[in-house]
């Protein structure tokens, strides 16, 4: 006796959260059944393995059918085939677009192309995330990227509108898109200690302050090519950063800047002497990183450079986090009082 066909269709589509998770994690039906058996569900419910198998198959089939709709979440809301309560719909979408920290760190800043997709095998072995799940996450990144790439307006809003994600998840996706667009290098060994959250934080600040949309120079001319207001760095701004060179090139200015910072921070920093000693190096590092940003290659290396030129020196002197923050705040604040410097923010790291 073999089961040829075995289906269950409810008027309200049944969604089993546990099975959904297993499906998202890319387990095959048999693996999922094995995992469910291990969870002790058989004992709890008195069901048999055959029942579990049939149930899992059913759910997998449903998810498979839903997947097409999940690719465009607004479709899920308007479709008529599956009657799913709104709260469940939200859960389906949110979980589908959720990603693994380990995975995102691997692809963050990489071009979301076929080439990268080919590397998913390696990522899968490296992270222990199933290839299926890797593909889903990668495709999600790529899909979101494609949709919002050409759009105007706030990146987060666009993502939220077209993918109906929660605010938090939309922000994360904004960071991923932003990084992918600017191809920031995040995979170097030096950067391994940084979490996705760290980068996402940077991305948010950069989107807020460094992009066209942020600078508030929305093009008055509608025909201009600047569409990706939140995604591309403001070229003009980067050009302006070159002017910062004067901070280290002009000896007087450097000294003045140093004294301003030192006066303000005296007694407030635990590592004051180290700071005072290293000020020139640190400032030069920061300014050089900033000044180089007109070159695409250097933009990509932004985080590597920042770590090399600024964070590592700080760390070797055992700066506490709070001191770094105080220093950087004071560092940028003091610049304003120097002369006609425009506000220039530096990405705050960690």
């Amino acid at each position: 006796m073999t089961s040829e066909l075995d289906i269950f269709v409810g008027n309200t589509t049944l969604i089993d959260e546990d099975v959904y998770r297993l499906w998202l994690d890319g387990y095959s039906v048999s693996d999922a059944v094995a995992l469910r058996v291990r969870s002790g569900i058989l004992e709890q419910t008195g069901a048999t393995a055959a029942v579990l198998q049939s149930d899992t198959m059913d759910h997998y089939r449903t998810f498979h059918m839903l997947e097409r709709l999940l690719h465009a979440p607004p479709k899920l809301l308007h479709q008529l085939i599956f009657q799913i309560p709104p709260s469940r719909q939200a859960l389906l979408i949110e979980r589908y677009y959720a990603f693994d920290e380990a995975f995102v760190r691997e692809v963050l800043g990489k071009k979301l192309s076929k080439g990268t997709k080919k590397d998913l095998d390696d990522i899968s072995t490296k992270t222990g995330i199933t290839l299926k799940s890797c593909r889903r996450q990668f495709d999600n990144f790529k899909r979101v990227f494609k949709v919002v790439e050409e759009m105007r307006g706030s990146l987060v809003d666009n993502i939220q509108q077209h993918f109906l994600l929660s605010d938090r998840l939309a922000r994360d996706y904004a960071a991923i898109v932003f990084f992918a667009n600017n191809r920031f290098e995040t995979g170097k060994k030096k950067l391994q200690y940084l979490s996705f959250g760290d980068f996402a934080f940077c991305a948010e600040l950069m989107i807020q302050n460094w992009t066209l949309g942020a600078v508030g120079e929305a093009p008055t001319d509608p025909d201009s090519q600047v569409d990706d207001m939140d995604m591309d760095l403001d070229k003009e701004f980067l050009q302006d950063l070159k002017e910062l060179k004067v901070l280290v090139a002009d000896k007087d200015l450097l000294d003045l800047h140093k004294s301003l910072v030192c006066t303000a921070l005296r007694g407030k920093l635990g590592v004051f002497s180290e700071m005072e000693a290293n000020f020139k190096n640190l400032s030069r590092g920061l300014v050089n990183v900033a000044a180089k940003l007109t070159h695409t290659k250097d933009v990509r290396d932004l985080f590597v450079d920042l770590v090399e030129k600024f964070i590592e020196p700080c760390r070797s002197d055992h700066w506490p986090l709070n001191d770094v923050r105080l220093f950087l705040n004071q560092y940028s604040a003091s610049v304003h009082s120097l002369d006609g410097f425009r506000f220039a923010c530096s990405g705050c790291v960690t």
Partner: protein
């Protein structure tokens, strides 16, 4: 030209990409009705086109309006080649043809293609302007309402229940026409869908005409089926119960109803609402205001004597209230005579209803069924489908005579079905023989209303169990006892019925789903030989199915089956029997005896041991089941002190005082001595197998109950969460082990596993009950068995049950002392009340004079055939069951009176139930349920019948996820299309939903599969009770409200 159909195409969305180059679609729409076609403009390069078309107007006959579906085709415009069809939408405009239902159809419909499934949606608005046409010779029957619900729809009142209507139409099946060889599968499928749509429209119209002829205005319990006879054609047939319904609105509607409704109908035959002024929308009247009677034209116009069996039996008569019982004596003979004459007057006294207004059903005789095996031949003249008509007429005659043999003049819960394999067709019909209240057989006049009031005085909960046949002249050997409830009348020891449990029935404990499953191998044969082989097997199958049912019933410790449905399916090399029913313990019936196993060879020691081991197992199972289903029939009702239901106790004391003085106690005690057990003889391995299979049925996991009736006996505190589902399984038998035993085991496992799967899937709803569990089995191919289940899971509140019982008790106490109004729910209270409190005192005289007027001449009565001659015509299987039943041991209940369980829908229950959280009240949600009600909600409007037929075919089966993926998607699509149609009608639920057919065929080698699905139901608007609460408290008749709603749930 009595109708103008107007259609507007608004927009489309989610259209598929038809032009690969641009990834877009140039869509336009064709709107077709009859032979007229309109087109919209082409909306270039859009997947979400906005057509905003003008109103397309079709001027058509109302005959066409009824027959034809509106056909909307979405196409992709192609400049150079032929336009590609994206898909179609068929809209049945019937709901727009009667005034009370929907006025406009407007909404998003899935665009359906038989090859690709749903491909986007289209927004359509449809309206109909209907001109009244009083032409008597017209062929249309616009305005006749159709309901799938097998009870009087909730917001209606039955003025007259006319009776059985049937019709069938036949045609050639497009799939088998020569042209099918050259056209595409899509064209063929669409031709079929269209034809069936057309045929069901025609069928509905014809039935409607019959209803109008009977002066009715509605068909209740409408059941339409398709017989795909293959080469020999396509038969669409339908049965139903014609009624004159009146919309319930306010209690004021009570009075006009007492005027002669039939006269009214004559005057205003096409007006749906004879008294529009008195019927404002609002909470409905309590059921007690309803009157039921038969129309004069087709009824059993017979004398309605005041001496009714039941009335003379009620304690009321004993108390000497003196309103009835003048001729207490020979009425049974009289009844028989009347029955006889009535039968002569009416062709088929059948009712497709399964639930009835209180008092309608007097006695239930038992299940009657008839089957016949026919060889299909080509239908030569589709306009004169005489052969098919004759086949059914034959079967119905047989049913009628079975019912007669049981001393019944009517058949209720009647249904018909077929099973076809190649050119052999099994026609089946079954129903429950019953005696209906004779006083309902007259006009719905003032007397009718009075009778209605009197009717409430019947002994609640046991009247229908009393045997309708003469105990001295029984149609079959049965063991009778005195009713354990009233102790006056005789009852059988088991009762099988096809109807729902009557609302007022006294049940002990909870019910459960009982199934008998059976396979029988059959030699492959051709034509006549095949038919003969099947005919020869049938009686054995029936017998075994009934044995199994009886055994399982005993094993559950129960004594009655409701909603019995026996399906016999024929395949090429086997026959399958599947019987489903809901077992209950009726308080009126004796306690079932146990099952005793007897071995054939008592000398063998080890064998003996084995037998005794089995016996022990069986006894244990019975004990366990009794505990599980809370079956504790009271030993001595008086000793139950602190019973949670004092009101019935009070009643029982009343009864007791009366019965103690009578002789019946002694008589009954005598019957105690005969403890003949139900014996199972194990004489061969087959029997052993049977006993084993008895014990393999696993009870549902705790927190789960299941039944195949509308409501679960013993559960009454439903909460609002419902989940309707369809599950399909197909198994392939390995041809090696094809023995009867192996088959049986496979089939049994299939059903059991399916149930287990359901319990597992729905575990999040615990505590819940699977209601209306409907199994259908078919044998699509040689070694394939397909089982389809549709049911609804309803949650209930376990904790509330206790409270409910308590409040119910409190409430009833209060009522007993103060309230005379609650005659409906606690009819016996009338005995203690003084009669003058009755609103209509001069009952009897009035009644008799009226009835003698309408009665038939005495001569005719005298010439009626003697009833007993029918006894030997009784069908073989009725005899068999009853023979079996005879051996059942007498129960051990010592008292006649039982504590009445709280009626399933008492007031207290209702009150507690009435404020469920409306979690799912989101806009756009359409609920579907096979039940006639929605728990925690009130149906405010019926929008019309949904009757849809779909075909889906694929030539890329593997790519669509194999057979499971294919069928899963298709069923989901069918649900979606049903929901979309309901939503477009303005409804938010489908009740009485049924998947009548699910024919699945596959050809994995060719990567092909095809499936046909036919579904139907009633589109309704419901309002949550919590939302109604405010309104109802403002009603002056707030007291009646719960009673009304209570009846609503169960009728």
């Amino acid at each position: 030209m009595p109708g103008k159909l107007k259609v507007k195409i608004v927009a489309g969305r989610h259209l598929p990409v038809m032009d690969r180059a641009s990834d877009l679609t140039d869509a336009f729409v064709e709107v077709k009705f009859g032979n007229t076609t309109f087109k919209t403009d082409v909306c270039l390069k859009s997947l979400n086109p906005q057509w905003n078309s003008e109103w397309f107007k079709f001027e058509v006959d109302d005959e066409d309006l009824q027959d034809e579906p509106l056909q909307i085709t979405v196409l992709d415009h192609d400049t150079y080649s032929a336009n590609d069809a994206i898909g179609k939408v068929y809209i049945d405009i019937d709901p727009l043809l009667y005034s009370e239902a929907a006025t406009v159809i407007s909404g998003w419909f899935p665009i359906y293609d038989t090859i690709h499934g749903i491909r986007g949606e289209i927004n359509v608005v449809v309206k109909v302007d209907l001109f009244n046409d009083l032409n008597r010779f017209r062929q249309s029957s616009c305005g006749v309402k159709f309901f799938c619900t097998t009870s009087i729809p909730k917001c209606y009142r039955a003025v007259i229940i006319h009776g059985f209507v049937e019709e069938l139409v036949v045609n050639e099946d497009p799939e088998y026409q020569w042209i099918d060889r050259i056209r595409t599968p899509r064209a063929s499928n669409e031709a079929r869908q269209r034809l069936i749509s057309l045929m069901s429209g025609e069928l509905q119209r014809k039935i409607g005409l019959k209803v109008l002829e009977m002066r009715g205005n509605a068909v209740v319990g409408y059941l339409q089926c398709f017989d795909l006879e293959g080469e020999s054609g396509l038969v669409v047939r339908a049965i139903g119960t014609a009624c004159t319904l009146d919309k319930l609105s306010s209690p004021a509607a009570f009075l006009p109803a007492c005027n002669s409704p039939s006269k009214e109908m004559k005057e205003i035959p096409f007006n749906e609402d004879p008294n529009p002024n008195t019927h404002s929308s609002g909470p409905s009247t309590p059921l007690k205001n309803q009157t039921y009677s038969f129309s004069p034209s087709k009824s059993y116009s017979r004398q309605s004597s005041s001496s009714d069996t039941d009335l003379s039996l009620t304690p009321k008569t004993g108390m000497g209230s003196g309103s009835a019982g003048k001729e207490g004596g020979p009425f049974k003979a009289l009844l028989r005579q009347q029955t006889q004459s009535a039968l002569e007057q009416r062709e088929f006294p059948f009712f497709t209803l399964t639930a009835f207004p209180p008092g309608f059903l007097v006695h239930v005789g038992g299940v009657v069924s008839a089957r016949s095996v026919k060889l299909l031949d080509r239908i030569h003249n589709p306009d004169e489908p005489e052969t098919r008509d004759a086949w059914w007429a034959e079967i119905r005659q047989e049913i009628k005579s079975h019912a007669k043999a049981l001393g019944c003049h009517a058949v209720v819960g009647y249904s018909e079905s077929t099973s076809i394999c190649e050119e052999v067709c099994i026609l089946s019909a079954s129903g429950t023989a019953a005696v209906l209240n004779p006083r309902f057989l007259q006009d719905g006049t003032v007397e009718g209303c009075l009778e209605q009031r009197l009717e409430e005085n019947l002994p609640a909960g046991c009247g229908f169990c009393h045997i309708p046949y003469d105990e001295l002249n029984m149609p079959f050997p049965a063991h009778l006892t005195h009713c354990y409830n009233c102790r006056k009348q005789k009852v059988p020891d088991v009762l099988f019925t096809t109807i729902d449990l009557p609302v007022d029935a006294t049940v002990i404990g909870k019910g459960c789903l009982i199934q008998a499953r059976l396979c029988r191998l059959k030699k492959k044969a051709q034509a006549e030989a095949n038919a003969t082989a099947i005919s020869n097997l049938l009686p054995f199958m029936e017998y075994e199915v009934h044995t199994q049912l009886m055994n399982k019933l005993k094993l559950k410790g129960m004594n009655a089956l409701f909603g019995l449905r026996i399906q016999i399916s024929v395949g090429e090399n086997m026959l399958m029997g599947l019987a489903s029913a809901t077992g209950v313990y009726l308080a009126a019936l004796p306690t079932p005896g146990g099952i005793q196993i007897a071995g054939k060879t008592p000398n063998d020691g080890s064998y003996e041991q084995h037998i005794s081991h089995m016996q022990k197992k069986i006894n244990d199972t019975i004990a366990k089941n009794k505990e599980l289903y809370e079956i504790n029939p009271p030993e001595m009702s008086e000793e139950i002190i602190g019973s949670p239901i004092p009101e019935p106790r009070q009643r029982s004391r009343l009864l007791r005082s009366q019965s103690e003085s009578s002789d019946e106690v002694a008589e009954l005690d005598l019957s105690h001595g005969k403890k003949d057990a139900f014996v199972l003889e194990i004489d061969d391995t087959d029997a052993m197998e049977d006993v084993h299979s008895l014990l393999t049925d696993v009870p549902p996991p705790s927190g789960f109950y299941s039944c195949n009736t509308e409501i679960m006996p013993g559960i009454n505190n439903w909460t609002s969460e419902i989940q309707m589902f369809t599950s399909v399984r197909v198994i392939r038998l390995s041809s090696l082990n094809l023995t009867n035993q192996a088959l049986n085991k496979n089939f049994n496992d299939l059903c059991e596993n399916l149930l287990k799967s359901l319990y597992f899937k729905l575990r999040s709803m615990i505590p819940c009950c699977l209601c209306h569990v409907n199994f259908t089995v078919s044998l699509p191919e040689d070694e394939l068995i397909q089982v389809t289940v549709t049911a609804v899971a309803i949650t209930f509140d376990k904790n509330q049950a206790l409270q409910t019982a308590k409040t119910h008790a409190e409430k009833s106490l209060q009522r007993a002392s103060t309230d005379n109004e609650e005659l409906l729910q606690f009819p016996l209270e009338l005995c203690s009340d003084s009669l003058p409190s009755h609103p209509f005192p001069p009952t009897k005289e009035h009644l008799e004079s009226a009835s003698s007027n309408s009665g038939i001449p005495a001569a005719q009565r005298a010439t009626s055939v003697d009833y007993s001659s029918f006894a030997d015509r009784c069908s073989s299987w009725i005899e068999l069951i009853k023979l079996k039943a005879q051996t059942i041991r007498r129960g051990s209940i010592k008292t006649t009176v039982t504590v009445e369980k709280a009626s399933p829908v008492g007031e207290g229950n209702f009150r507690n139930r009435s404020s469920p959280p409306c979690a799912n009240s989101t806009v756009g949600v359409v609920k579907m349920t096979p039940l006639s009600f929605i728990p925690g909600a009130k149906i405010t409007k019926y929008l019309g019948i949904i009757n849809m037929f779909f075909i889906r075919e694929t030539t890329s089966l593997r790519e669509e996820g194999g057979v499971s993926g294919f069928l899963h998607a298709f069923i989901a699509e069918v649900f979606a299309m049903v929901r979309a149609h309901v939503a477009a009608l303005g409804g938010n639920a489908v009740v009485s939903y049924i998947m009548k057919q699910c024919v699945f065929m596959e050809n994995p080698n060719k990567n092909q599969a095809q499936c046909l699905i036919n579904v139907s139901g009633d589109a309704v608007v419901f309002v949550r009770e919590s939302e109604l609460e405010v309104a109802s408290t403002q009603q002056p008749t707030a007291n009646c409200q719960p009673a009304c709603a209570g009846g609503e749930v169960t009728t």
